[in-house]
């Protein structure tokens, strides 16, 4: 074979470099693409939580360590009298910028209905949101649906008012009601 007929070195060299360049560029772009899909998830503290209200002692409010759940153990229902706890507990939006939608939702109820007339929970926002539990003496009527959403502005606390009423002549009975505050 004559040397003149052999392909020139330069195009072969260039082609080789071009191919390796394409390979490296594609591989690098693939790594970068996989990087863009990497997510870093960190634990965040909730912006909306419970705080004690002015009537917390009367209502026997105890909060969990992270303020995400509360128990009201000293609520009373007096016979034939509506008892109102105006400010036992509050829902606070502690975010400096954002507003959040919140609502009240029924979770659970246990206890006899015999001696009660009603137990109401009212979120005292810019407009009220109410969960109503009524008793006909034999069974409880539960809230059919959660309350509608309401926007709680940043750095704002709204109280949850509790109203109770027992049947005339009632002497003893207890009911345990679980409700939740949904945040969206």
């Amino acid at each position: 074979m004559e040397l003149r007929k052999m392909p020139s070195k330069k195009p072969v060299k260039f082609l080789t470099l071009l191919l390796t360049s394409l390979l490296i560029a594609t591989a690098s772009a693939a790594v970068y693409y996989s990087l863009t899909m990497t997510s870093t998830i960190s634990v965040a503290t909730p912006s909306v939580y419970f705080v004690k209200g002015a009537d917390n002692v009367t209502a026997g409010v105890s909060l969990s360590a992270d303020n995400r759940s509360a128990q009201l153990t000293q609520l009373k229902a007096y016979p034939n009298v509506t008892t109102t706890y105006e400010d036992p507990i509050r829902v606070r939006n502690n975010h400096t910028l954002s507003s959040f939608n919140i609502r009240l939702r029924h979770v659970s109820l246990s206890g006899a209905a015999t001696n009660f007339i009603f137990v109401n929970f009212t979120l005292m926002g810019t407009s009220e949101r109410k969960l109503v539990y009524t008793s006909n003496g034999t069974a409880w009527t539960l809230p059919s649906s959660p309350t509608s959403w309401i926007l709680i502005p940043n750095i704002t606390a709204w109280s949850i008012k509790v109203e109770t009423k027992a049947k005339a002549g009632a002497t003893a009975d207890t009911v345990t009601i679980g409700i939740t505050v949904d945040v969206a």
Binding site: K10, K13, F14, L17, L18, T20, S21, I24, A25, A27, S28, A29, V31, Y32, S34, L35, T36, T38, T40
Partner: protein, 162 residues
């Protein structure tokens, strides 16, 4: 935009340099194209390491080591330009290189660095970057005008023949 984008940009600069130096291999040392390929491969390894230690390295650190890699790539572009102009005395080629490779590359890199700095609240001084961006754009514009004027091209070809 992730900080690793600058490493990706640096890899592409090295690969472009490798191909261009292959085309100009009669004016540059023979090993140069392969060296730039190795440098691009180093950048690829750099990206892989960055991906594996994404959580350990903070964004600040990631930005700086990727940016330094890009700076090394850019300094190589400038070094080739200087080599043509000073060591080889190829002024016309150096001018073409600066207008067609050096300043466009600097312009593209500055554009991305300044947009990254703008989003990430000034990792680098934004004014300096914007001034650099404008200067690069002006030089590139002038270079294009000069290079594409028929008279300049004719003169360049004549000089090359001589």
């Amino acid at each position: 935009m992730l900080p690793e984008f600058f490493a990706l940009l640096g890899i592409d600069v090295f690969l472009t340099l490798s191909l261009l130096s292959c085309l100009l291999d009669d004016r540059l040392p023979k090993a140069i194209p392969y060296l730039y390929q190795v440098a691009a491969l180093v950048g690829y390894g750099h990206l892989l390491i960055s991906r594996e230690f994404l959580v350990i390295f903070g964004e600040y650190m990631r930005f700086w080591y990727c940016f330094i890699y890009l700076l090394v790539a850019l300094s190589n572009v400038v070094a080739v330009n200087v080599y043509f102009a000073v060591a080889k005395g190829l002024w016309s080629l150096a001018k073409v290189w600066s207008g067609a490779v050096t300043f466009p590359t600097i312009l593209i890199c500055m554009f991305f660095v300044s947009s990254y700095s703008f989003v990430q609240e000034a990792t680098l001084p934004l004014i300096t970057l914007q001034i650099g961006l404008v200067i690069s754009a002006i030089v590139m514009g002038i270079s294009i005008c000069l290079l594409l004027s028929p008279e300049t091209m004719r003169n360049a070809f004549r000089r090359e023949r001589r």
